[in-house]
Amino acid sequence: MSILIGKETRVLCQGITGQAGEFHTRGCLEYGSQVVAGCTPGKGGQEVAGVPVFDTVSEAVAQTGVNATMIFVPAPFTADAILEALDAGIELIVAITEGVPVLDMVRVYEKVSGSDSVLIGPNCPGVITPEECKIGIMPGYIHRKGSVGVISRSGTLTYEAVWQLSNLGLGQSTCVGLGGDPIVGTSFVDLLRMFQQDDATEAILMMGEIGGTAEEEAAAVVAQEIDKPVAAFIAGRTAPPGKRMGHAGAIISGGKGTAEEKVAALEAAGIVVAESPADMGTAIKRAIEQA
């Protein structure tokens, strides 16, 4: 077992006829994911990378039985694409696109919250269950099958962490990129609970960053509900206040959302916090040994 995705997951790609959509559909297929349908309005009937393209998500669901989707459509149309997937009853929606307007996400979040679907992202690298299924843009080969669950707000920092884990011989159960935007579909808290329930996951590594209070909320949940070892790293200790650090959500505003506050909250919850990004892998090792 693992969380969110596995061997049996049937994947749709929304925006498959675009450059990024096609490129990453091929990447996911090469990794072994079952990408069985694509969707681009007006391009139904075509084929991309051997995958049939449909005009609507509902048609793709009806004809191919997809239960997960990855979204590569341009930012102005991403909210619409997410809502279409939601309407078609897709269980897992992974929005890779960066630059979605925040107020679009306010509406999307409200709709997703009232549904049984899970939204990951937007502005995220995706989800991977090593050696089973990859939905997203991460390089598959750095991952190893194993028992560490990985949750992160960032892309390349996650690759860095996974690389450190794999080199230490620590494989991963599932790795999830939450996305770097102020409002994302799924938070640390949701995933911590999923990993707690997952038999294949024995420890959890989370990478947070400045901005918002998601890490503080995660710390509270770890203290109360999670009995598996947890380690963390927070990026942005040197970030100045009031400046967006690349990610739309990575900003210290009104003195809130600093790395210090987050590290303090995590440590108070008994989480092993890596001081250096070079020690993310060893931090989870320490957390496992302490347990």
Partner: protein, 394 residues
């Protein structure tokens, strides 16, 4: 994206929200003419820069002159405008060099009974826009939130339906507004919430929001900023952008599709991905160095972008050494290595360059760098890279 106070007030006025009569001036003559046109005895001259804290801020050239001043004659209006225009205003938010004042706003005075605070933001935890009000007007809201949080009242509102009238009445009651002011308050709050959503704002702040002696609510100041990701659907707002108010290298980086933030240190960094870029800054600091910038070349940077990124790093004369930290995912290390060499040759380096490559095709990428004969210090991992670049920067 931020805009000036006078631009924000034009948007408020167009939305039917009460602001005072005012005129933007770019010279002392315009200021005295504006004083006459406003017609009152008292007027206020306000420096127009994006940074906050203008009232407390003073000029670099004349520390007796504040950024906001009451004037009582056309000559005084001209004198104050003369001193402000072209000078640099230093506030808590501008840094030591201050921000040059290119225009001032001349605004009519009004009889103030109370000063309140009003702000609208998208609350991340609630995933919803939220209207906040406080009876502690004119103060920094962060300070109020830290010291007397019980003085702040909040109402989350629906993006599409807006703020309901009862919510506005609740806030009016919490602020202990007189019965005669409630109607004015409800209209003010509802219209402002609608404007926030209609223009895709990320922040609207009215501080102070004043209650006049005749019981009306008026926006005495106005700060608005907009969601950059939504600007594509607001051409009119895009036109309000003032590049003079932004850090020139940040503007330049933005045009090249790079994300750049200038810092005060002397070690430049070039990284792919925002999280890794922040972590690289932290790593430099952890090893005793000071990062000169945040620079994210993105997941799929090409030769042109890497070259421009190098040019930006090298244009900072405080930089003593540069660190390139790339985790090749979809981006191959061989592509990055070739781009690095091309950029290196076309830009011409005069400071040490430490390169740490990891990920896809890393062995081949490192080989390209080694065989090039170019004077690059290669690093094997993050810690090695940090130690080498801190040593190189001296």
């Amino acid at each position: 994206m931020k805009i000036h106070e006078f631009q924000a007030k034009e948007l408020l006025r167009a939305a039917g929200i009460a602001v005072l009569e005012n005129q933007v001036c770019q010279s002392a003559e315009e200021a005295s003419a504006a004083y006459d046109a406003l017609g009152g005895e008292v007027a206020v001259v306000k420096a127009q820069i994006h940074a906050g804290g203008r009232g407390k801020g003073t000029l670099k050239e004349n520390t007796d002159q504040h950024g906001v001043q009451l004037v009582r004659s056309r000559d005084e209006a001209a004198e104050v405008a003369e001193r402000l225009l072209g000078s640099h205003l230093i506030t808590l938010q501008t840094g030591e060099s201050g921000q040059q004042v290119r225009q001032v706003l001349l605004e009519a005075g009004c009889a103030i009974a109370r000063e309140l605070y009003l702000g609208i933001v998208v609350d991340r935890a609630a995933s919803s826009p939220v209207l906040m009000v406080s009876s502690a007007g004119g103060m920094e809201i962060e300070k109020v939130a830290a010291e007397t949080p019980e003085l702040i009242f909040r109402e989350a509102f629906d993006r599409d339906a807006g703020l309901d009238a009862y919510q506005a009445r609740k806030l009016a009651a919490a602020l202990e507004l007189a019965p005669g002011s409630v109607r004015s308050a409800v209209s003010f709050m509802q219209r402002l919430c609608r404007l926030f959503v209609a223009e895709d704002c990320s922040l609207v702040e009215i501080n102070p929001l004043v209650v006049t002696e005749d019981g009306q609510l008026v926006a005495l100041d106005a700060k608005m900023s907009f969601d950059d990701n939504a600007l594509f659907r607001h051409k009119d707002i895009q036109e309000l952008r003032d590049l003079d108010e932004e850090e020139p290298t940040e503007v330049r980086a933005g045009e090249a599709g790079l994300s750049f933030v200038k810092l005060d240190g002397n070690i430049g960094c070039l990284v792919n991905g925002a999280g890794l870029a922040m972590s690289t800054m932290d790593l430099i600091k952890l090893h005793g160095g000071e990062p000169a910038n945040f620079l994210d070349v993105g997941g799929g940077a090409n030769v042109e972008q890497v070259t421009e990124a190098f040019r930006i790093l090298l244009s900072d004369h405080h930089v003593r050494a540069d660190l390139v930290n790339i985790f090749g995912g979809i981006m191959r290390c061989t592509t990055i290595a070739s781009a690095l060499l091309e950029a290196y040759e076309s830009v011409g380096f005069d400071v040490p360059l430490v390169v740490r490559l990891e990920g896809t095709e890393v062995a081949e990428g490192r080989k390209i760098l080694e065989e090039s004969g170019v004077d690059i210090i290669t690093a094997n991992d993050l810690t090695d890279a940090a130690q080498k670049v801190v040593a190189a920067a001296g």
